[in-house]
Amino acid sequence: MERKIRVLIAKPGLDGHDRGAKVVARALRDAGMEVIYTGLHQTADMVVETAIQEDVDVIGLSLLSGAHMTLFVDVTKLLKQRGMQDVLVVGGGIIPEQDAPKLKKAGVSGIFGPGTHCDEIVNFIKKNVKR
């Protein structure tokens, strides 16, 4: 049997807006992926540690507080340090358009803002998953 895509949905930092993270987690599960949800208040270390423990293929970061330029990049930097560039990183939340290219450069391959259909995220992951 084909191995299911394993996804970690993570909430870095202090942001408590978890509606989007939970909706996306369910949608990915319903699309046949294995989903692990970290819960709130994760540091970059905690996210990467969980990603290793759970052997995930994808990390989905969700942040609506505006701290994405710091906290998303903390995670991608740490992944690089650990040699885990084969983990696909995507992000969602309130992310101004001008920040998206910078995040992509830092290793967040897909950025999904308000109004995104869950299908779009599912398809993106299926197409871009590296392992």
């Binding site: 202090l14 942001d15 309130i94 358009e97 109004g115 869950c118 299908d119």
Partner: protein
């Protein structure tokens, strides 16, 4: 409510109309949908008539404004007397920047202030704490000490203007900053007015900026109730909030049921402590969302007033003032679109109108750019102007509860009340509000509703203009608020200087007195006030309570 013979006549006529006119018409011109539902997935009929509300007793169930059960409003004159407070939730960056924004808003006709704090402040961390990384001033203003609070309100007449503060976990400490700042300015704490949100139950349920476990959190809240009515009598010591429950994805019915249920829970805890209901109940206030479904929102506010009055009476309140549900409303942030952001002005107008027709005491209208970033000056000014247009141009303020007596509105109000009690029965069966939180009941109900709603958008069962219909492919041309990049550095330097220059012996003494008191069962407010007066920081004061009370960790379910 109607003469029986008359009612029978109407019923017969209605049956005939349904058969002869309506059905024939629908055969030729079918309705757009098989089933019409509101945002709580309640089926809505084609028409409402007297027999839908015949079971109601006008005097007993609907009545007059300013009279039990206050369905039609808590004041006899409503907006004919005084308009609601125009209160825009606002805060970003440093205290200096936000102070400027407050002055700008007051200059443009805002009549009350409302503070948005950044995440570190909401969690009781100073700006230089490691968990504060990346969050300085992002979601609100950073306030780490009394000194920051002094800057935030410098030049603002806090003896005249009232201030609402969205702060929960560390509410007692931040409130103490406000009181101490007034006192340092020689303003008597007995005359300052405002609100602290201080509603921890909905933090566990939805907003998630909790710090301590439920029991010590509830103790702190009852401490503020008691200190409030004795020492700061014009202050609303809580704003029991449905707003965040709704933003997290609940239906209107869930928002109503969970919020008013939380209110009853606070009353019970305060009474258990031995406080007299008529002493503290008049200072309890509420906060609701104004979402898209116009009539459902109006019915929600009306039902909330009636349920609250009934329940407070049941709990033994004697004073009429204790029975009054006073509430603030904010339009629904989650309904705003990042696509074609200008059209959010129309959404906000409809939502704000529902809040006004529902009789809100205070209102925040969202800015069109809030699905993109914090609001720019122009966007927030347009939002404020929207309230002013409703207040002064629309004419809806000329009479009290203009929709009262509408067959549809009264039917829906009653229905939402009925469903609220059904939810309360479910919560009772789980052992009450705290056990229901611990079992994840509310969280699951909300997550289910949020997911169902999202799926309906993707299936186009719900149309969101600009998102799944009427889309345009054009760049967003909204100027985004840029913050002062030096703000964080300035704040950290100020904190360092403060920690060096204050009387640290006094700080230590006050913090250990607080620690000792927290281990006992005294009211903590006087101890907290001593700490902040000596310029102990938010983080230091909160850490003492973290040490004694511990921290709450929620189960990660989705």
């Amino acid at each position: 409510m109607f003469d029986e013979k008359e009612l029978e006549k109407i019923k017969q006529h209605k049956d005939k109309w349904l058969k002869d006119i309506y059905s024939n018409h629908v055969k030729k011109h079918p309705e757009r949908k098989k089933k019409f539902e509101n945002l709580s997935w309640n089926e809505i009929k084609n028409i409402y008539t007297p027999d839908d509300i015949a079971h109601l007793d006008y005097i007993k169930d609907i009545g007059f404004p300013g009279e039990y059960p206050f369905l039609r409003g808590i004041h006899p004159t409503k907006y004919r007397g005084r308009l609601w407070t125009f209160r825009q939730f606002s805060g970003f960056g440093s205290a200096e920047e936000t102070n400027k924004r407050y002055k700008y808003l007051l200059d443009h006709g805002e009549t009350g202030l409302s503070v948005a704090f950044d995440y570190p402040t909401l969690y009781g961390y100073d700006t230089d704490h490691k968990m504060s990384r990346g969050e300085f001033g992002k979601c609100g203003v950073a306030i780490s000490s009394l000194e920051d609070m002094e800057i935030l309100f410098s030049g603002i007449p806090i003896d005249k203007v009232t201030t609402s503060m969205t702060i929960n976990g560390p509410a007692a400490i931040v409130w103490a900053f406000y009181i101490a700042n007034a006192e340092n300015r020689k303003i008597d704490r007995r005359i300052i007015g405002g609100t602290i949100q201080n509603d921890i139950l909905k933090e566990y349920i939805a907003q998630k900026s909790f710090i301590f476990p439920p029991e010590p959190s509830m103790r702190l809240i009852v401490d503020t109730f008691e200190f409030g009515y004795k020492e700061v009598p014009k202050w609303n010591t809580i704003s029991i909030s449905g707003y965040h429950i709704r933003e997290a994805g609940s239906t209107a019915v869930q928002e109503l049921a969970f919020t008013v249920g939380d209110g009853v829970e606070y009353v019970k805890w305060a009474m258990k402590r031995g406080l007299k209901i008529d002493d503290f109940a008049p200072r309890l206030s509420f906060f609701f969302n104004a979402h898209n479904d116009f009539f459902e929102e109006i019915a929600k506010y009306r039902a909330a007033r009636r349920i609250w009055a009934k329940e407070l009476k049941r709990l033994g309140a004697k004073k009429s003032r204790s029975l009054l549900m006073r509430f603030h409303t904010q339009t629904a942030g989650c309904s705003l679109t990042a696509q074609q952001p200008e059209i959010n002005i129309s959404r906000v107008t409809i939502q704000a109108l529902a809040a006004v027709l529902g009789g809100t005491q205070s209102l925040h209208t969202n800015s069109m750019d809030e699905a993109l970033a914090l609001p720019s000056e122009k966007a927030v000014r347009i939002a404020l102007r929207t309230q002013q247009i409703i207040a002064h141009e629309s004419g809806v303020t000329d009479t009290v509860d203009p929709l009262g007596g509408s067959y549809y509105i009264e039917w829906l109000t009653d229905k939402m009340e009925e469903e609220t009690y059904q939810y309360w029965d479910k919560v009772d069966k789980l052992g009450g509000v705290l056990p229901a939180i611990e079992k994840g009941f509310y969280q699951r109900e909300i997550a289910n509703a949020a997911y169902k709603y999202q799926k309906e958008i993707e299936e186009k069962k719900q149309i969101v203009v600009g998102v799944n219909d009427y889309q345009m492919d054009e760049p967003v041309e909204i100027p985004i608020l840029q913050m002062d990049e030096k703000g964080e550095e300035r704040q950290i330097n100020r904190l360092k200087k403060l920690r060096k220059e204050r009387n640290n012996q006094k700080v230590e003494k006050n913090l250990s007195a607080l620690r000792k008191a927290a281990m006992g069962d005294e009211n903590l407010m006087p101890y907290i006030l001593d700490c902040v007066h000596s310029y102990a920081t938010l983080g230091e004061t909160c850490q003492v309570l973290r040490d004694v009370f511990g921290e709450y960790k929620e189960p990660a379910i989705y």
